[in-house]
């Protein structure tokens, strides 16, 4: 077996792992889009904000300490405690729920019935707001996030593949854990949507707002719930990416990676988000591996978009999206 083929296989596997993480972010988009027709650009910043809050709570940082220090001339920064990860995650989920409520109450309640593109631009505004707010609250330094996930090369895979091919594959433990957690999250979301009362209400709202309203489902409650769920998904994505490369601004850019995933898979489909994520993850890694060296590298920045763009020209609703029917 040639070396290129074996390297290619390793790249392929790593691409699959990256794809799972893209799918995880894309899931947050699909949830909100299905239930409320809002295309939430702020999803990536939500992941950043959730991860920042988690670090802040675990390390006992004082919120807005920089602002307080600047105004009152004090020098506070830490409460002086260290919380275990479980409490930190619980608190952060509570914060994200509060955020979901605020977003619904102060922004999207007032924008009901607006055109989708106006809602989209509002979420870009929200993304800017949340970015500034998060930095003001917790500071913009690069934070280390450690919730006890395993990291480093997976020795078992390394040894097994060495035995097979004479070359050990480098697969990060964290990627494996992320894959498992993402799979669990997707399964539990599907179970939630299919078999619980709230999940059924959520699907009803996604189907038809007015019909759902007329059988007594509270749209407001469902929307807050969906934003909370999206916040939770954002937190999980934030933990994965934050553990990998530190909690910093670039984390919010994963939203930009999730957009082509959605275009490929269709905005309305959970399986679409997963398949789209895998295609993009594998596609961009393989493209970088095979074509990248010929054209100067760093093709990962745009490959996903151009793929999605070409794809859309032939199938405007994505792989699994509902057919778009327009009437005058």
């Amino acid at each position: 077996m040639s070396d290129t083929f074996i390297f290619g296989m390793e790249v392929f596997l790593n691409g699959l792992m990256a794809g799972v993480l893209y799918a995880l972010v894309a899931l947050g988009f699909v949830l909100i889009y299905k239930a409320s027709g809002i295309f939430n650009y702020a999803q990536g910043v939500m992941a950043l904000f959730a991860a920042m809050t988690l670090v802040g709570i675990m390390e006992g940082r004082v919120p807005f300490s920089h602002l307080i220090n600047a105004i009152f001339g004090t020098h506070i920064h830490h409460f002086g405690w260290h919380l275990p990860a479980v409490f930190g995650i619980l608190f952060t989920v509570a914060v994200m729920a509060g955020f979901a409520w605020c977003v619904q109450k102060f922004i999207f309640r007032h924008l009901v019935g607006q055109e989708p593109i106006i809602l989209f631009m509002a979420t870009i505004g929200l993304a800017y707001f949340l970015e500034g707010f998060g930095d003001l609250m917790w500071g913009s330094d690069i934070k280390k996030l450690d919730v006890g996930l395993p990291q480093g090369i997976n020795l078992l895979i390394d040894e097994t593949t060495f035995g097979w091919f004479g070359y050990g594959f480098f697969i990060d433990n964290l990627d494996l854990v992320a894959t498992v957690i993402a799979a669990l999250l997707v399964i539990s979301l599907i179970i939630f949507a299919q078999y619980t009362k709230q999940g059924r209400a959520m699907r009803a709202v996604a189907d038809d707002h007015q019909a759902a309203l007329s059988v007594g489902i509270s749209l407001n409650f469902i929307w807050v719930m969906v934003w909370t769920l999206a916040g939770f998904v954002a937190l999980v994505a934030g933990i994965m990416w934050g553990t990998k490369s530190g909690v910093q601004f670039s984390l919010s850019l994963i939203a930009l990676k999730a957009l082509p995933v959605l275009m490929l898979g269709g905005f309305t489909s959970i399986p679409g988000a997963i398949v789209g994520g895998l295609i993009i993850g594998v596609g961009e890694k393989m493209f970088e591996f095979l074509v990248g060296p010929l054209v100067g590298g760093a093709t990962e920045n745009w490959f996903a978009y151009v793929l999605a763009l070409l794809f859309l020209v032939f199938r405007p609703q994505g792989l699994f999206g509902e057919k778009i029917i327009e009437r005058v």
């Binding site: 295309f39 920089h66 602002l67 600047a70 922004i107 007032h110 924008l111 607006q114 989708p116 593109i117 106006i118 989209f120 631009m121 509002a122 870009i124 505004g125 929200l126 993304a127 800017y128 707001f129 949340l130 970015e131 500034g132 707010f133 930095d135 003001l136 913009s140 930009l256 957009l259 082509p260 959605l262 275009m263 054209v295 100067g296 590298g297 760093a298 093709t299 920045n301 745009w302 978009y305 151009v306 999605a308 763009l309 859309l312 020209v313 405007p316 327009e326 009437r327 005058v328």
Partner: protein, 358 residues
């Protein structure tokens, strides 16, 4: 009291069709033009030009361009930064490749090249709509920035990967490079802005502007009444691309002088120009000016008050700026979707009746 049509008689069709039909508006326009061309150049210094006037003039051109695409034709584009980069790099290649030709023509041709690229990326708009298209234009943004970063031909194989604007002059007055005078740079950009704004205003008032607006309001209905969507959408992309390209060329050659593409023409630039037209007013030429002025002045103001006045650290002020801009976008979309331009219209309507509102 001063702002009314009474007593202003139009005797020819030409009078009736003029840009500012109300006398007060017309005089205000002449006064602004007089101040901009004959008063300000004598008063400004380097700080004012570089901090406020040049960014305002250049962003206003970009905002008008984007407003034609988003506000008039309804095709949301998030690729403005990438298209400005096309203008900048086209201008750079022309300036270094044909130094004997006038800078003025270089900038016009850069606009033309950008228009062509913009049309290429606008072609999918015939198939995809709404935010599918918005996301598709992100492809242009990322691809173009990558292209200018990675292909050495575009930056003439310079070691730093930057492009630097060589010194060029017009009528023996230096316009670009470090030795250019503040007033010369200001006037050069002002001429472009004035001419382009007049063109935009008249395009949007004419047949082509009406087809754009028909497409924006409902494309299928427009198609049924005989508007050619291919022509309307492509022409909007082309005109918008030309404006954005000119602004990118000016931004590089006159304003900054040296450009690193990822930093200057990144995705944030696209959002900044989009925010200008949301705050200023979608579908309004005046709104483009107002939005550009607002978003150029706000950071300067915040910086002067917070860092200069209260002694806060700069990073804190920068975070607060993000927060305020984000909040303003949301507030404008909720409370006044037509932006500052609508506030201005309401004010004018009030002024017409003042001081006797009944």
């Amino acid at each position: 009291m001063f702002y009314r049509e009474a007593g202003d008689f139009k005797t020819t069709y030409k009078d009736d069709n003029q840009t500012f039909p109300i006398k007060f508006d017309r005089y205000r326009y002449y006064a602004v033009m007089f101040a901009a061309f004959a008063v300000i150049p004598f008063l400004i210094n380097d700080y004012w030009v570089n901090a406020i006037f040049l960014p305002f003039l250049i962003y206003a051109i970009a905002a008008i361009g984007l407003n034609i695409l988003v506000g008039y034709c309804g095709q949301v584009s998030l690729g403005t930064g990438g298209f400005m980069a096309v203008g900048a790099y086209a201008c750079y290649k022309l300036m270094t490749g044909f130094p004997e030709i006038n800078l003025f023509f270089h900038i016009i041709i850069s606009g033309g090249i950008t228009a062509f690229v913009c049309v290429l990326f606008g072609l999918p708009s015939l198939r995809i709509k709404g935010f599918y298209l918005a996301v598709a234009t992100l492809a242009a943004q990322f691809f173009l920035v990558w292209l200018f970063n990675r292909v050495p031909w575009f930056y003439n194989y310079s070691a730093s990967g930057q492009i630097n604007s060589p010194e060029r002059s017009l009528f023996d007055i230096t316009i670009t490079g470090p030795n250019a005078d503040a007033w010369a740079k200001y006037l050069f950009c002002l001429v472009f802005l004035t001419v382009l704004a007049l063109i935009a205003r008249n395009l949007t008032r004419g047949t082509i502007g009406r087809t754009w607006m028909a497409i924006r309001d409902m494309d299928i209905a427009a198609e049924i009444i005989g508007v050619n969507p291919l022509k309307a959408k492509i022409s909007a992309f082309a005109v918008s691309g030309f404006f954005v390209g000119v602004s990118g060329a000016l931004f590089f050659s006159v304003y900054l002088g040296a450009v690193e593409v990822g930093e200057v023409f990144g995705i944030n630039k696209s959002f900044l120009v989009l925010f200008m037209i949301i705050i200023g007013g979608l579908g309004s030429i005046f709104g483009s000016f107002a939005g550009a002025a607002f978003l150029v002045l706000l950071p300067v103001l915040l910086k002067n008050v917070l860092v200069g006045g209260l002694g806060w650290p700069t990073d804190l002020a920068a975070h607060l700026e993000f927060l305020i801009i984000g909040a303003l976008i949301v507030i404008f979309l909720i409370a006044e979707p037509h932006g500052l331009a609508q506030l201005w219209r309401v004010a004018k309507e009030k002024l017409r009746l003042w001081p006797f509102p009944h």
